[in-house]
Symmetry: none
């Protein structure tokens, strides 16, 4: 059995209920040992975990304290837990809102090298022998476009999208919805989008990105 669980649970619960607030000092490690009848090794294991989660901090000679942003961290924990499960419908709604904005940003920041990579992705997607291979280059094209924004934050947002896409029903949905006709249409839409970006035409690029995503959503979710 895990003898560390009671201590861990009690501390977390105290933080959640507000019995322990930012700046408060926790009992000493040895006090926890006696109170919970566990070894100091076990106590320190628990405190180590909480310290890594930035819920507490420890100072030699002084004691163990609740960090200033403990409540916030704890709140964002719950959010993160439910975060990785994002439905295709929710993700597509967000992509429809955000990607056209990213495309407009790309127009301001993209270089010739970026365009080359985009067109290379288009070409390789068109030459793909299988649907699996096509999807690889499809995904890579969208990634190249996002990277062409040359903005670290946008790159993080795109990584989030990939994460949501990788873990879930998305793969199955996409596989089932990709017919030869649709693939051909996607290829044309990709080319048209890249061309609009290359021409530095914000309005047209936005429109083509939106239309492509609407098309993908319609095929994926039937609306």
């Amino acid at each position: 059995m895990d003898t560390s669980q009671p201590l861990r649970d009690t501390i977390i619960e105290s933080l959640r209920s507000g019995q322990l607030r930012a700046g408060d000092r926790l009992p000493t490690e040895r006090a926890f040992c006696e109170q919970y009848r566990i070894s100091r090794t076990t106590v320190r294991k628990v405190l180590q975990e909480l310290k890594e989660r930035e819920l507490i901090s420890q100072t030699v000679g002084s004691g163990t304290y609740v960090t200033e942003h403990a409540a916030q961290k704890l709140a964002s924990m719950a959010a993160d837990a439910s975060a990785s499960q994002i439905s295709p419908a929710v993700l597509m709604e967000a992509r429809l809102a955000l990607e056209p904005a990213i495309v407009e940003m790309v127009i301001g920041n993209a270089t010739a090298a970026d365009f080359e990579q985009m067109e290379s992705c288009c070409a390789k997607a068109e030459a793909a022998a299988s649907n699996e291979e096509f999807e690889v280059w499809d995904g890579l094209l969208h990634e190249r476009i996002a990277q062409a924004a040359h903005n670290a934050f946008v790159a993080n947002v795109f990584a989030l999208m990939n994460q949501a896409r990788a873990q879930g029903e998305w793969g199955m949905l996409k596989k089932r919805s990709l017919t030869p006709e649709r693939r051909l249409a996607y290829q044309q839409e990709h080319r048209a989008l890249v061309q609009a970006i290359k021409n530095r035409d914000p309005a047209l690029a936005r429109e083509r990105a939106t239309e492509h995503l609407l098309h993908v959503r319609r095929n994926l979710l039937n609306y």
Copy 2:
């Protein structure tokens, strides 16, 4: 002194030089104890670290093994170390691109309860006695707006923004740039933005969000 350092260094160096390759089995914990004249607790502490970094894996009854992607993980360590820092300029550029899009999405999804919370944030920000307090409600208002999109992915994006904002020069920059006149202007811009969202006027809401962010950026970065 840290008696765990020699063992840690030796293993890392062996991984880096290729003496230890993917799938290779490491000596047993007790063998390390004897070889380095350290306790098993210390050995386990080192192996625990490497396990968390996904460089090795351990199996009960079998042994300790080098993971398949150990070399790759080790290589990307150095890169990641300098990666996660996003400058205020980069963050503001991304916010300018993404937040107006989010605002437009909010118009389609926000409820009466959302509007109440937004206006409550505005009121509390206006009533704030100190700049610190004002910033709390300022941040909370932007959070409420993002939450009103009622989209889990957008919520994640906003959490990313908070993370980038919390860790860095942002706090100092903001504190230094917030004068009484500017604070008053922000309050009016907030009210105007919320009103536009409430009126479900996409174009106006976008414009006001953009103007507010441009204003913040100008004050923050002087351009």
